[in-house]
């Protein structure tokens, strides 16, 4: 009984960490589906979102909710500008040019954050810090629960946005066929920039949800590498896949940390990634298609 409760707790903690990976992966997937670019700077954009929230909440003393909303809006605006100013210029260049471009941008963001906020870890108090929920015999941190609930709410909101609103449907159209969408009067470029904005905003949400659990620091962006594992596991290009992949990675990582010797936990996500590529390269949720000539 002791063991079962312990296991369940690990699973919940893992799922909470996995939701964060899933949210970052969701950012990759949104951009990839729309523009066929892979944003290697997604983790660093999340880091920036975390620092924005830190500035607004801890520095300017805003209310947690107001500060969080403002930080999300600021990060989204940043994502919009990033696409409009930089990424739009490399359309038509080979895919790996975009990979390198975003990697370079990631390094620059990291340095910029280091100059602005310093290289020490920072944090701010949230309504969820150091509080627990009792669920039967289980004791759960309210922070983990808030991550899971926040992720579910965000996904529901995104689902409604993409399936019910005019703008969301325009985005779906633009990512399915750019030319046709353009002919229908959809401003494709602006739509792409808006998708970058949404994905940056999702990254900021991930950073804010994560902040009760772990400190914000400049190297937070390396979580992005774990999120790649989530995206690949879910089949790059599938939105539910990214979330499920993230949760699976999070849980496997927690269990590996508990059952396997030290050192395995750090590489779990990478091992899962390589194993996915070897065993089921199309991922859990993707449909297999061949390129037609």
């Amino acid at each position: 009984m002791e063991d079962a409760a312990r296991l369940l707790q690990l699973v919940v903690n893992g799922a909470a960490a996995g939701c964060i990976y899933g949210l970052i992966a969701l950012g990759f997937v949104l951009i990839y589906k729309a523009t066929e670019m892979v944003n290697f700077a997604q983790g660093d954009i999340m880091m920036l979102g975390g620092f924005f929230a830190f500035s607004l909440i801890a520095h300017f003393g805003l209310n947690y909710w107001v500060g969080a909303l403002l930080a999300i809006a600021a990060t989204a605006a940043f994502g919009f500008a990033l696409d409009a100013v930089v990424l739009r210029r490399v359309i038509g260049q080979p895919q790996f040019a975009v990979v390198m471009l975003t990697l370079g941008l990631g390094f620059m963001f990291r340095a910029a954050a280091g100059i602005t906020w310093g290289y020490d870890s920072v944090g701010f108090t949230t309504p969820f810090t150091n509080r627990t929920v009792h669920l039967g015999t289980m004791v759960l941190g309210e922070d983990s629960v808030s991550i899971i609930v926040g992720t579910v709410l965000l996904c529901a909101a995104l689902y409604v946005f993409f399936s019910r609103t005019r703008l969301g449907i325009a985005m779906q159209a633009a990512s399915q066929n750019q030319l046709a969408a353009y002919y229908m009067g959809i401003p494709v470029r602006t739509i792409f920039s808006l998708i970058w904005a949404i994905s940056a905003g999702v990254a900021a949400v991930a950073a804010i949800l994560l902040s009760p659990v772990s400190m914000i620091d400049v190297n937070m962006g390396f979580l992005g590498i774990k999120a790649f594992a989530a995206a690949v596991l879910g089949g790059f290009g599938s939105i539910p896949g990214a979330l499920v992949g993230g949760i699976v990675i999070g849980i496997v990582e927690q269990l590996a940390g508990y059952f396997l010797p030290a050192g395995f936990q750090e590489v779990t996500s990478n091992v899962v990634l390589l194993a996915t590529l070897i065993l089921r390269p199309q991922g859990l949720f993707a449909d297999t298609l061949r390129k037609k000539v």
């Binding site: 066929e36 290289y119 400049v218 390589l274 390129k291 037609k292």
Partner: protein, 358 residues
């Protein structure tokens, strides 16, 4: 302008295009051979490091510039080569065997990682090599029985047929020899059917496949060759640093390698050399400039990676052909002096090419 008339088949087969090339490359080689006699220990060591980076640059150029695949984990192959060389030397194996062995080990590792990932689009290779690099880095740290972990690993001095290779000068000549070998292999590889297949894959996978090219086979060959060459350069790197630390083969080093290729100029072996010079000498330049900057900027810990990032971004946005492309433009300007037109190298309007399956 020089107009080249080919009158014999030998001219097509020759490595150098004409007498001018033979002259300039010969002069360059003589100068490089004489440098250790003239310059101080420090500069010889730095140039040796440039050669080691250039070997990796050539290896990555074959992969990125000619096959169109990006690897973000070449530091791992460098590390595999370095540790293979050092561990075998420690066991008393002669250097003439350990050097090829480190190349072979890295190539095998490349095949192992290439076979599962190269079936997918090039994007997956970038992600998979990123993961591979981080796994290998962790293995170097944790497998203390072989690598010594964070205590490091002192690399024994190699001997070739009884002659010890010592100090900066020894590493310099050794690296120069290996670099020439690697360049010779690459030039010949690129004009063989394998090289043509690689270029075809880069330009269009679909049309390459319809011409009967076995995509995954040729991609795996390219990746294995590239990893093997990086392994060779890793063996030399071990002698350059003389003391292996597991955390020196991290993602940042991989990014530096890719920067070599992008800054030097995609799709030219010259570019790999120029890029290696640039990337290897840039930290020195930063170190010199640092003293003149205000201390808030000069003492900033993350200065170097951010400058690498900035250069990468500027290069991709404004000069995708890199240093070698710029050099060709300058050359054409002088070759056709009063008649140069600004539009000669204007980039064509490009459209998004879909890799999507439907």
């Amino acid at each position: 302008m020089r107009y080249l008339f080919k009158t014999r088949y030998q001219q097509d087969l020759a490595l150098m295009r004409h007498g001018g090339d033979r002259m300039s490359y010969g002069l360059l080689l003589v100068v490089l051979l004489l440098i250790p006699a003239v310059l101080g220990e420090f500069y010889v060591g730095e140039l040796g490091a440039v050669f080691i980076f250039a070997i990796t640059g050539v290896a990555l150029m074959l992969l990125i510039g000619y096959t169109g695949l990006v690897s973000l984990g070449h530091a791992a192959f460098l590390g595999i080569g370095a540790y293979t060389n050092a561990v075998l030397l420690e066991k008393g194996v002669p250097f003439v065997i350990t050097l090829p062995a480190s190349g072979a080990t890295a190539a095998l590792a490349g095949i192992a990682i290439g076979i599962p990932t190269l079936r997918m689009s090039g994007l997956y290779l970038a992600i998979a090599t990123l993961a591979f690099g981080s796994i290998v880095g962790t293995v170097f740290q944790k497998w203390t029985a072989v690598t010594g972990g964070f205590d490091g690993f002192a690399v024994p001095t190699p001997t070739i047929f009884g002659f010890p290779i010592e100090g900066a000068t020894g590493v310099y000549y050794l690296s120069l020899a290996v670099l020439l070998f690697v360049l010779w292999i690459s030039v010949n590889l690129l004009r063989s059917p394998i090289g043509r297949a690689m270029v075809a894959i880069r330009d269009s996978e679909v049309s390459a496949q319809s011409m009967g090219i076995n995509l995954s086979l040729y991609k795996t060959i390219a990746f294995a060759v590239s990893a093997g060459m990086t392994g060779l350069s890793g063996a030399l790197f071990a002698h350059y640093v003389r003391f292996l630390a597991p955390d020196s083969f991290d993602i940042l080093l991989s990014i530096q390698f890719v920067t070599i290729v992008f800054v030097g100029g995609l799709g030219s072996l010259h570019g790999a050399i120029f890029g290696a010079l640039f990337v290897r000498l840039l930290p020195q330049a930063i170190a010199i400039v640092r003293d003149y900057l205000p201390s808030a900027i000069g003492r900033m810990p993350g200065l170097e990676p951010s400058i690498f990032g900035l250069i990468l971004v500027l290069c991709i946005l404004f000069e995708p052909a890199g240093i070698y492309g710029r050099w060709q433009k300058v050359k054409l300007y002088f070759n056709s002096f009063p008649m140069y037109r600004r539009t000669s190298f204007r980039r064509q309007r490009a459209y998004a090419r879909s890799e999507r399956l439907r």
